[in-house]
Amino acid sequence: MQITRRHFFGVMGAAGASVAVRPPTGHAWQSKAPPDPFGCLVDLTRCVGCRKCEEACAEVNGLPEPERVNCQCTIFEKDRRPDHDAYTVVNRYYTGKVDEFDKPVPTYAKVQCMHCQDPACVSACIVGALTKDETGTVRYDVTRCIGCRYCMVACPFEIPAYEYHDPITPKVMKCTFCYDRISKQGGVPGCATICPTEAITFGRRETLLEVAKKRLKENPARYLPHIYGEKEVGGTSWMYLSGVPFEQVNLPALPETPSPKLSETVQHSLFTYLWSPILLFGVLGGLMAWFNKNDNPPDKGGA
């Protein structure tokens, strides 16, 4: 049995051609983002690092009280991430910014689920345990969750955490956008309510974008001219303003294409008209027939 180079390229060429001439799918990717979601605008130039948001979040969501709530002396020494015990954490960054006495100025940044407009986790969840709601919330339904943790892999911000310590009823844990509060008239998330400096502004996403643009325009020296989350991964409900580069406060540079657009386009085009399984089994069948044909004659010699 030999597969010659020519044969191999012949077969691959045929496969390639069938991909190229496949009928137009008619399934161009479409965003499923809600039209008028809520959002939060986090202004890092206003945050004073008091960690009241952590405290309030734990209280309204029935989570354990954060470590050293009233003492900010050592907590910032380690870089923390949201986990199964905390939907949001505040970190401190020294970015090289100094005040007029050359003293380093810290920048504090709160991290939580960004509630993407087209969330990668929702797209990755194979049982629909995660959904993007009209309010803008990415909601989690534990009764559907099978614990595959695809969402954790898919999230570009590495937010969802898992209750590994709980073998019986583990849950995926992430900021709920205080859905129970914001879905009611006049409701505000716990963290935004308590923030003493309104570093977290709650409102409709469209309005917040206007507010953000106004702040950038009125105070160009205070801010970098960028609204993080306006376009990142297709837009997020939580957005940030900052006076220091976003990468320095652990907000990664991300493409403007929504993550699901790429994955879903690949997935959908693979399965349109079932061309890919048909092609795969066609090729396999062809190869089998070809091997059978080639294998038979030499057997005669009994070599």
């Binding site: 008091c50 309510t193 308590i194 400096t197 309104e198 309005t207």
Partner: protein, 238 residues
């Protein structure tokens, strides 16, 4: 016998006082407390002046330290308490701040658009509930206080920036904590305080109460001609 009568006579007005249960209240405290409860109508439109023109406006209007009518505020507005009530109210020494900052436009940064309105308005006239969808860029009263106070305290490297620096702590009942002899003299009382509050004692040595120096917003014409402060004159140093 005579002694007994005298004691009884002395006790009578005292007992009478207890019976009517008239607890003495500091009038300025009461006034501040009442004032804190008031809410004023929301000012929708303001004049968007820059700080320099604002300052000139205030100067043209002839507003100076002498016009500061309220010496002291209790920042305890129902607007803030409506959403949450975690901290004791802040006591804000208005006149003292005015004297130190010496620039009303620092806090009274805008004025109402209505020309007939007063030059200086209360914070709570423009800053009320947070996240008002009709005025999304207007920050709420709580944020207005915190941003204004903390930013200035940071910039000037003066004044507290931590929570309990401004907000009162819940003060425990000291009757249980402190044991004083009957009829203590002033030095014994001070000593008892300093047993726990030694840092405050150190701080006190840097204040006008000890040094008799610093801004004098309350003296006539703000004169500063006090020579014999506790810190400077040994005779007075107790």
């Amino acid at each position: 016998m005579i002694k007994k009568i005298m004691v009884c006579a002395c006790l009578i007005p005292f007992l009478a006082g207890v019976c009517t249960a008239e607890v003495w209240k500091a009038p300025d405290q009461e006034q501040a407390r009442e004032r804190a409860k008031e809410t004023v109508p929301f000012i929708k439109e303001y004049k968007d002046d820059c700080q320099i023109s604002r300052r000139i406006c205030l100067m043209d209007a002839g507003i100076s330290l002498d016009d500061v009518s309220t010496v002291y505020f209790l920042l305890d507005s129902p607007i803030i308490k409506e959403r949450e009530d975690h901290y004791e109210p802040v006591r804000f020494a208005h006149k003292r701040h005015a004297a130190l900052v010496d620039d009303c436009s620092k806090c009274h940064h805008f004025r109402p658009k209505d020309e007939d309105a007063l030059e200086t308005t209360r914070c709570s006239a423009c800053h009320q509930d947070s996240f008002n969808p009709e005025y999304p860029e207007r920050i709420g009263l709580k944020a207005a206080y915190h941003q204004q106070c903390m930013e200035c305290h940071q910039q000037e490297a003066k004044g507290p920036v931590d929570c309990t620096g401004c907000h009162l702590k819940h003060v425990p009942d000291h009757k249980e904590l402190v044991k004083l002899p009957d009829n203590p003299d002033p030095i014994q009382v001070t000593q008892a305080c300093l047993e726990c509050h030694d840092t405050q004692g150190e701080d006190m040595l840097k204040t006008a109460h000890w040094l008799w120096r610093g801004p004098s917003p309350y003296t006539t014409g703000h004169r500063k001609d006090i020579l014999h402060g506790k810190g400077t004159t040994a005779l007075n140093n107790f």
